[in-house]
Amino acid sequence: MSYLAMTAEIVSFSGHNGDEGEAYYARPSGNGPFGGVVLIHHMPGWDDWTAEAARKLAHHGFACIAPHLYFREKPGTPDDCAARARAAGGVSDDQVMGDVSGCADFLRSLPHSNGKVAVMGFCSGGRQSYLAGCRIANLDAVVDCWGGAVIVDDPKDLTPQRPVAPIDLSENLTAPLLGLFGNDDPRPSPDQVNRHEEVLKTLGKTYEFHRYDGAGHGFFASERPGYRVEQANDGWRKVYAFLGSNIGPAATVD
């Protein structure tokens, strides 16, 4: 079902350490109730693509909040804030988890919420989504779009901001997981995705992985040469179906 009418606006949320952050919030019009999605942007910043993805999710019936993970670097435009965060080595996993958790609380507090929340992200946001699934309680679904560094092969890649490889926390994953990957992506590589899947199977987790031939990293990004229309169209359909089953109206019917 499509929701042609929606509201999209900038909202405040209570993030890590109680810091007041800003987020892009798009939701279908009407009383719902709607499942909610916390959408995590990638390293280069809180950008047009993130807002577009949030609106796509709202169009398909989900209330979506996309926090600006670098709001603490203001003043400046989102890309200026991202540049400062990058120069500092990125933001810490603890801070991102605090902000994501605050956004999940925001979604559940709304009168049109059905109480269910998913987390979804692209690239470094995919990694952080997986991490959220392992660290934040009471999430109802996780969508990892080509998150690299879930598996860390070189210990030197662990930093004070990102001290733990998310794969090492997989035992704590309780929500169903959807993973989308391009088979031409070097990071995560097909081998790393295989190893990720082995861990999930061993632990008996509920998951579905979809891998796309002819697609590399970031193949949903319609503004970049790596965009792959057929693979992206299929991938989005998988996202809508997965979210519908886990946080949509069907998921709340007793």
């Binding site: 990638h42 540049a83 080595g89």
Partner: protein
């Protein structure tokens, strides 16, 4: 995958941004998904003044091929320029 790798270069000079000319003391150089350029990956350079708190920046995002051509052009301009200015000093 997004990268947090940044090569930092201390430098002396000025850059012109939205607010006009400013002193710069650092260039942060990285290769990652761009914010604006229609590329999958771009060589990014942020010229900032770290001593002044890095509030302003002058930024570029260019392709890897362009970055290599730019590096060659920079070295060529320096070589020729230093020779010519050295020649002028003898006039």
């Amino acid at each position: 995958m997004c990268s947090y790798i940044v090569e930092e270069v201390a430098l002396t000079g000025s850059a012109k941004g939205q607010a006009g000319w400013m002193s710069v003391d650092t260039a942060n150089v990285y290769f990652d998904h761009p914010y604006h350029a229609s590329l999958d990956h771009a060589l990014g350079i942020d010229f900032i003044n770290r001593k002044d708190g890095a509030r302003e920046r002058v930024a570029i995002e260019i392709s890897a091929e362009s970055a290599r051509e730019l590096a060659k052009a920079m070295l060529a301009a320096l070589e020729r320029g230093e020779m010519e200015h050295g020649a002028l000093e003898h006039i």
